[in-house]
């Protein structure tokens, strides 16, 4: 039982990294990033290939994942500069699908649909419960580091400019802010965080494959960020852990329902997840932790 809880917390922490990535690009910069699963995949593959096939140490793999995520983020951002809202969403969704298709078809590069198994782990697996506890400690530390970083950025003039751009591009531009530079920085940083999440996921489960990076995971993270509050790092983190707790709890609830078959229980779970989103949006449209308006600093 303890193993299961630790496992759920590790997955929750990976989701929390992804949620903070989405919080930055969507909540702060207003860039609807449906390509989250793609950046997650880029990071996972970068680190898995380097450490499994290249026998590089894990910290180097994680750094490479961050770099790869950031660079790909930059490329995607520059190719979508003129797009906002729905159009950006469509293009980024397409990007994630391209990553998945490349990963399944370029067998020489990625190992194809077999994926990469036997990825080195953060803590030796034979350490039993300490394998999970140790991995949790490392990944949770990464969540905390990203949280502190984002909080600092948010309070800085940089964070204020991003919000200004999100609210009204033209006004921000007139005020002398370089829209392109801010957007590219935010998007690239967000992609780098998603890349780190991918690296940690691979180093915890020892396996990455294209099937992991279906759009489903992006939807889950949108759900988490919406529930927690999309413009605050704490909201994203709490939303992610709540989401995993919720996803796992629905298993037990579905089991309690009498007289339903396995397939009905599975469908019931999906209904409950959807219903959860609808309820959150109707009662707390800004999430559990809504954005606070910042007062101008006293001169």
């Amino acid at each position: 039982m303890l193993t299961y809880i630790l496992f759920a917390l590790v997955i929750g922490s990976v989701y929390a990294l992804l949620a903070q990535s989405l919080m930055l690009s969507w909540g702060l910069a207003g860039l609807v990033n449906l390509g989250l699963a793609g950046f997650f995949a880029v990071g996972a593959y970068a680190s898995a290939m380097l450490t499994t096939w290249g026998h590089a140490p894990i910290p180097l793999g994680v750094a490479a994942a961050m770099l790869a995520g950031g660079l790909v983020g930059l490329v995607v951002c520059f190719s979508t500069l003129r797009l906002r809202d729905d159009y950006l969403a469509i293009v980024t969704l397409g990007f994630a699908e391209i990553v998945r298709l490349v990963a399944s078809n370029e067998v020489w590069l990625t190992g194809g649909t077999d994926g990469i198994s036997g990825i080195p782990v953060l803590v030796p697996r034979d350490a039993g419960i300490w394998f999970h506890a140790g991995s949790l400690a490392i990944i949770a530390a990464a969540v905390a580091a990203v949280y502190l970083l984002l909080r600092r950025l948010l309070r800085s003039p940089w964070g204020r400019s991003l919000r200004a751009i999100r609210e009204d591009q033209t006004v921000a531009s007139v005020a002398g802010k370089s829209i392109v530079r801010f957007k590219a920085q935010a998007f690239s940083l967000a992609a780098a965080i998603a890349g780190v999440a991918g690296a940690f996921y691979g180093h915890y489960t020892s396996y990455v494959a294209p099937d992991l990076f279906q759009p489903l995971i992006t939807i889950y993270i949108f759900l988490a960020v919406t529930a927690g509050g999309n413009a605050r790092p704490a909201g994203a983190v709490i939303g992610a852990y709540l989401l995993v707790a919720f996803l796992e709890a629905t298993r037990f609830i579905a089991e309690l329902a009498p007289g339903v078959s396995a397939v009905q229980a599975a469908s019931l779970r999906e209904i409950v997840v959807g219903l959860g989103l609808v309820l959150v949006l109707s009662f707390r449209p800004d999430g559990l932790l809504p954005e606070r308006s910042q007062k101008a600093p006293a001169l």
Partner: protein
């Protein structure tokens, strides 16, 4: 708000909540029933197969329980959904292993899900019986904890090649979505066809597309006289329809799990006319296949239901033979009841009586003879060749 307060209180509440939810499970786990898990795709792209698989296991376990259970203990089946997704599958597997404390997991379908779940199983000493076909699975360092009832893909590829030749084809095209076994299947098929002086070509398509017209045109450019289809039901239906529209008159071969009753019913009779299918089969006359048909109330159950029925029977018999209920007991005894001569049985109820009486048994199941190599592949499989005629699937031969 400070972060420390929120996170801590959140962690505390979630652990409490999870603990309360799991309480009945912990109480139940002390003594009494033997727990087994099914991890089949109930939603997602495998959703056409998984629900029936979970259903047949529940029904077969019901029959075993009615006859007195295994080692005098009741079997309890817990069905989880892998959502045809390795991430969701892994979460479900952890729940089955850590919370429900199952001794074995049955029925993982997609190869990627099986590969994700396998390390967790062998490290926790849980037995894993799968229907995934990728060659790489049994090559994992699984210490004997994995068996699979799906013939490995090299064998299937060879059988397709040989059968295409038998139908008089010289130029065979292999059209398939990208799967972990596409390459090995095509290699085996090519070897068989080229040995007889024929030639082959391959085309990979995206199985999520709703039309395959361009792919069909590309395939027909090389004028194949036989096309082997490597996909699943949904995408094969699209492919067959577009081939018909393109006026293709050659032979069409497909897997029995893809070209099934659902596909035939979804297409007009003249579109599906003449498609030949191939599927792993039980030796003619064995009762295993009939048992599955009876449990499900259908005429021709699909191969995955047959295979997972065999998983349950083999696991029950292995536990009885080893007089224990752990995954290790199952892995050490499964070959003692599956092969090596002895009285033939085709269901667990009869088998359990014989095992209790001390008789050596040899289980022949619904999906085939169920004899396993050291790494967990099946040794030999017979294949069922069928053809669609007037909207009905007609048996050609079993060989």
């Amino acid at each position: 708000m400070t972060m420390r307060f929120t996170r801590r209180s959140f962690l505390g509440t979630s652990i409490l909540a999870a603990g309360t939810l799991a309480m009945p499970a912990i109480l139940r786990a002390q003594e009494g029933p033997i727990k087994l898990g099914t991890l089949t795709p109930l939603t997602g792209s495998g959703g056409a197969y998984g629900p029936v698989m979970a259903d047949v296991v529940k029904k077969a376990a019901g029959e075993i329980n009615k006859a007195g259970g295994v080692l005098g203990r009741e079997l309890v089946i817990i069905s989880e959904d892998d959502q045809t997704n390795p991430e969701a599958g892994l979460r479900a597997a952890r729940k089955l292993i850590d919370v429900d404390k199952v001794s074995a997991i049955m029925g993982t379908w997609a190869s990627s899900v099986t590969t994700a779940v396998a390390p967790v199983c062998w490290q926790s000493g849980v037995f894993l019986a799968t229907v995934s076909g990728a060659d790489s699975i049994t090559k994992l360092p699984h210490q004997g904890f994995i068996i699979r009832t799906q013939p490995n893909t090299t064998l299937q590829g060879r059988k397709f090649g040989e059968f295409a030749l038998e139908l008089g084809a010289k130029n065979v095209a292999f059209v398939s979505p990208q799967t972990p076994f596409t390459e090995s299947q095509f290699a085996a098929l090519t070897k068989a066809v080229e040995a007889a002086g024929g030639k082959t070509s391959i085309l990979i398509y995206d199985d999520k597309k709703t039309t395959l017209r361009t792919e069909v045109d590309q395939v027909l450019r090389s004028k194949p006289d036989a096309i082997v289809m490597g996909g699943y039901t949904t995408d094969t239906a699209v492919l067959v329809r577009d081939l018909y529209r393109a006026n293709y008159k050659g032979k069409l071969l497909g897997f029995g799990y893809a070209v099934n009753k659902q596909l035939v019913e979804a297409l007009p009779p003249d579109v599906s006319e003449g498609i030949v299918t191939l599927s792993p089969s039980a030796a003619q006359g064995t009762g295993g296949y009939k048992n599955v048909a009876r449990l499900l109330g259908v005429d021709s159950p699909d191969t995955y239901s047959c295979q997972i029925y065999d998983h349950l029977n083999l696991i029950s018999l292995a536990m009885a033979a080893g007089k224990g209920t752990t995954g290790t007991v199952i892995k050490d005894n499964v070959r003692k009841v599956a092969q090596g001569g002895g009285q033939k049985v085709d269901n667990a109820v009869d088998g359990l009586k014989l095992v209790t009486a001390g008789t050596k048994i040899d289980y022949d199941g619904a999906s085939g003879p169920c004899d396993f190599t050291d790494i967990g592949d099946i040794e030999d499989a017979q294949f069922r060749y069928e053809q669609i005629k007037d909207g009905k699937i007609v048996l050609l031969k079993i060989a």
